[in-house]
Subunit: 252 residues, 2 copies
């Protein structure tokens, strides 16, 4: 049997501001959703502090066991921006100025006070790297081996993801469809387990919530095979209804 | 010299719903902020999928090198809730029913349709574990060795954190104070670097933003030593003003 190849990515979120609770991360969710459209699964995420050893360890363990590795944060002009140096160290290569990045930055800062030494730091890349276009602000993202080095500011990252859309090899995107019930998930636990077992290749997630004093749950059926998702969803709906629970299509 | 002990924690967020981008995580930020009040630093976070091997690997590598390890997610009654089994496997202990958890669940479900087999799963703990009070819903959290097993639903986790407040040994909380400038951080990069170097023991983070078409940045000065934070903040403010930038106290 020809088993379908699953493409995976990992993400390293670099930043003390996330670990201190000061900043709510938004990159995990946006990169996860974008990757799925490319047919790539986000397999794991690590949030690490602005310390070289922490970044090197995370990058080296994750790049080896995933098709792609993304990082966010730490590519600005200030002293706490150490991502490029840390990734160069992880790869065992030098840091060099990228001529095209210098040109981009010179142009961008021509009307913004000129390219100072601090700003030119943003043209530094691990040796051998290419650039990821940044249409939102000046400094480009960086692509080296299977690593994609992105900004920390979410709308700049979004622009870089746009620039990468369609350029990475992937498989079939995972199709997720949701139904909901005003029921405690514990009442239908057996029924969910059976539905997952009966439809090999789907994963069913159960997500309880409490709203307006009522208990409910959404059930998410996932697989790259949309027909299988639809069959499982139809059978699960029938089983829930047979057990006396009204099903809300597309979730609550 | 008597070096101050730094207490650290790691967090493992367990859940396919975070890795798929379906759900925006809120536990990292709330646990980070809570830990800081306890005098404990959140040193690293991993987000892993609902797979036993992924959970075991993350738990075992992080519990060994941090004072505390927190997990969120995967402790409900359904088939995709495998956190307790995975952590028992990581610790090399059996899973057992906790008598007090059974009592709690029996009482909670007495008026909610009774304690079914699926619901009783939530009384399963790694052998030797204690409970964390859950005042919000029925099922308690779990405490075993240096591991704290919390709910995935953020307001339930918040209740469990309340129950733990003041019970964990920690050091001095990190004090963070912020100032802001309507300036591109690249214009003041040298000045920030110098301020951090001159005040040993502080970390200065620089967080740029773009708002209403203008460029600004907040500068966050952190240390467990509040007097040092204040000195550094005062000197940094003077340096920014001397360079011609108006400083907004408490950030923008």
């Amino acid at each position: 049997m020809n088993e379908e190849r699953i493409w995976t990515a990992a993400l390293v979120v670099i930043g003390d501001e996330i670990l201190s609770g000061r900043t709510q991360d938004k990159n995990v969710a946006q990169i996860a959703a974008w990757l799925n459209v490319q047919g790539i699964r986000l397999a794991e995420v690590r949030v690490v502090s602005d310390r070289t050893e922490a970044i090197v360890e995370a990058v080296n363990s994750l790049r080896a066991r995933n098709d792609y590795l993304f990082t966010t944060g730490g590519i600005g002009p200030t002293h706490d921006d150490i991502t490029v140096d840390a990734i160069a160290e992880a790869l065992g290569v030098a840091v060099e100025f990228h001529p095209q990045a210098m040109t981009v930055l010179e142009r961008y800062y021509a009307t913004r006070g000129g390219l100072t030494e601090a700003r030119a730091r943003m043209a530094r890349v691990p040796a051998g790297a290419g650039l990821i276009v940044n249409k939102v602000s000046g400094a480009p993202g960086i692509h080296v081996e299977n690593i994609f080095i992105m900004a920390g500011v979410p709308h700049i990252t979004a622009g870089m993801l746009d620039a990468l859309t369609g350029t990475l090899e992937g498989g079939r995107p995972v199709v997720s469809k949701t139904i909901g019930c005003w029921v405690a998930e514990s009442e239908v636990a057996d029924l969910l387990r059976d539905a997952e077992k009966t439809h090999a290749g789907v994963a069913i997630g159960s997500y309880p919530f409490f709203r307006d004093g009522r208990t409910g749950a959404n059930f998410v059926v996932c697989s790259p095979d949309e027909a299988l998702v639809d069959t499982c969803l139809a059978n699960l709906t029938r089983a829930l209804e047979a057990a006396g629970f009204a099903v809300v299509a597309e979730g609550i």
